[in-house]
Symmetry: C2
């Protein structure tokens, strides 16, 4: 048997133990994990120093190097994130529906853990603790496969957390970190259909495509966020401008940032020149259709590629459209199913937009930047799904569980004899 | 572009129309479909006669041929199943949770259709109408790929249903039947990751493995049901015997039939000889462990293969075990995550069984034969999932939808500029 298969089998066995833990046991586990991270911060920082040194030697610098760096404050913030997860409502055991059938059977729908979750991620070492804590809180066992740059840091963090599992009489395999980072090993992991219940890739589009391409186990993925703001004819212009500036400029490198502005033609003449001025003041480059360019001289022409692009940068595609139907058509053609916003004072228009748009998050008069597990009340987020199955949009602890049936009877049979 | 891709793209476009239909529009569509099936039963039966003739010529006979056969009564029952689906509660638009965030954002979780569902199935032509109606009722477009034996019947049924779609101003592509039954075409369909949101295979294990092997789109599958009945030390023996006889003999060829009996050693001496007599009277062959064979002379020895088998026949594997923990261990090792039953008068034992067993359906003092969408209150069933993701257990209309986020605000931004 290959090493990865035997590690994964041990994780699956440990999932049986996780499955039966009650909320108090899981909370106590996570609190001890948080304390252990703080108590062992020197060892974690020493391991992180080795990662930083190797990365520097390879020429990594700037923001990339900073994402890898831990210090006492960052370790403390990792520990505090684990404590926050311990404080979340436990989704496991939640009875979502209860019905008594005409024959007296009591049928309940009850949430249970998924089982074994494989997290595939890139540089940030905090994901090792974050993702593990959220998976464990939802009663799952977890297989972690991080990036090579953070390997020493990840091993140090996982070692601390596994020691805590063992102290709680839970097999340490419930948190399994893969140290063999060869691609063929990752492919083998992604094909363990009898062991892994779900794979969640978190990182750049290249990583996600690689996982989707090779996985035989179920994958919940999020490719990109091409988020739209549509300014309706009846919009409050000042409000629309606030949402536009917040959506585009407050953090342009994240998936819930705006990438395209659609404007109803009846409001374009008044709104677009103001909007262009406000955005250009903040360094945003605009690329627009002919009608936009007629209103904002000097704007570059937008191509279809621009309308499909996730810029993750201070660039905004702009289009003046004839009506709400055209806005919906544009989003259906170019959207990525992530987050779309309508700005309007017309309730019927808002309702029509919500009903026609299939994206994971649809917003009326609010910033796209709220499309985030914490902001929407999930407490913690393991990712944002643009897969229209199981979970769609920000995923919290509940998305790491599934509903099953518990049936209680008093001897009912389907075909009584005699 | 390949023909299958262009058919599927048209189906995806039609999904946008389905997405926006309200409940009344869908109910009226399904009622007209039911009426059209009845009105066109002559054409459907003529097509079916061609399928029957070709099947007979190939030597198909008996139960296989019967599964393919339609008559006026069966067409009427297909129509009436479509009317029953039209009467189900519409899962689309259901607000499952509503919360106002501290910043005033109103966050709702609302069910929406999945989009495009590909159904891959075998001989019975009624699935063409059943599955289509359930997918459409949940607001989805559907691609149907049935078996070659039923092709003429499937085409006739699909033609009738597509005419009704067109009369309702819905693109007929919302119900697309694949007539090109080559395997490479099915493989291409299963890899249209930008079009197909979910594939559901329904049929024998060979078909399901083929789909799982080749799919790149998400698949919800159900391999087999190795269902267990555990008779606890405190069981009511008469009640246990009823559940055993019903579970094993009322319809041995279906997935929710019992395959293995586990008996607590303290009750085995009294229960097993009676049970063996009752089962043998009904033609059931028993295969048991040494302790079972000591109580029932003549019982054949059970192998590990017997304990892992879905017999789908009048055969039952039997094992005497030491305690509840051993029963749980046996199910964890040999179970298929489908349905397990405990018979007990001890609430603590029932609770421990429910908490430890991860199967889709867990029952206390009820027959495994109730593990069925209709019996558990779903109204209609598109399959039973043993995939612990999205839906687990019997799947009805709700399993063909997913929750997303609708957020309503009054201009909230994440990083106020002031």
């Amino acid at each position: 048997m290959s090493e990865i298969r035997s590690l994964a089998l041990a994780c699956r066995d440990a999932a049986q133990t996780m499955f039966a833990l009650d909320s108090e046991a899981k909370r106590s586990l996570l609190h001890d994990m948080a304390a252990a991270l703080e108590a062992n911060s020197d060892a974690i920082l020493a391991a992180n120093a080795r990662d930083l040194q190797q990365a520097s030697a390879k020429g990594v610098q700037g923001a990339m190097l900073d994402r890898l760096r831990l210090d006492q404050a960052r370790v403390a913030s990792i520990a505090s994130a684990v404590r926050e997860i311990a404080a979340l409502p436990d989704p496991v055991g939640l009875v979502t529906r209860r019905e008594t059938r005409p024959n007296g059977l009591e049928v309940e729908r009850v949430r249970i853990p998924l089982g074994v979750i494989a997290m595939i991620y890139e540089a940030r070492p905090n994901v090792t603790a974050d993702a593990a804590a959220l998976c464990l809180m939802a009663g799952n066992a977890v297989i972690l496969r991080g990036g090579s740059e953070a390997l020493h840091s990840n091993v140090a963090i996982a070692t601390v957390l596994r020691d805590v599992l063992a102290r709680h009489d839970i097999p340490a395999a419930a948190l399994t970190l893969i140290e063999d980072l060869r691609r063929e090993t990752m492919i083998e992991l992604l094909q363990l259909t009898d062991i892994v219940d779900l794979a969640i890739p978190r990182g750049g589009e290249g990583l996600i495509r690689f996982v989707a391409e090779h996985a035989r186990v179920p994958v919940i993925k999020h490719y990109k966020g091409v988020c739209h703001l549509y300014v309706d004819a009846s919009a409050d212009e000042a409000l629309a401008l606030n949402l536009l500036v917040d959506g585009k400029t407050s953090r342009p490198g994240v998936c819930n940032a705006l990438e395209t502005l659609l404007i109803h033609r009846d409001i374009a003449e008044s709104f677009l020149p103001n909007a262009a001025r406000a955005l250009e003041e903040r360094g945003v480059e605009l690329r627009g259709c002919e009608r936009s360019r007629a209103l904002v001289p000097g704007m570059r022409t937008a191509s279809d590629e621009d309308y499909a692009a996730e810029f993750l940068d201070l660039i905004l595609a702009v289009r003046v459209i004839d009506d709400l139907g055209a806005a919906i058509g544009h989003i259906q053609r170019f959207g990525s199913d992530h987050t779309e916003v309508i700005v309007t004072r017309d309730n019927a228009a808002a309702q029509r937009f919500v009903q026609a748009i299939r994206s994971a998050v649809v917003m009326v008069n609010a910033s796209s930047r709220f499309s985030d597990g914490g902001e929407l009340g999930l407490g913690a987020e393991i990712g944002i799904s643009t897969t229209r199955l199981h979970a769609y949009g920000p995923m919290g602890a509940e998305a790491l569980t599934v509903e099953r049936f518990v049936v209680r009877g008093s001897g009912q049979v389907r075909h009584p004899q005699h």
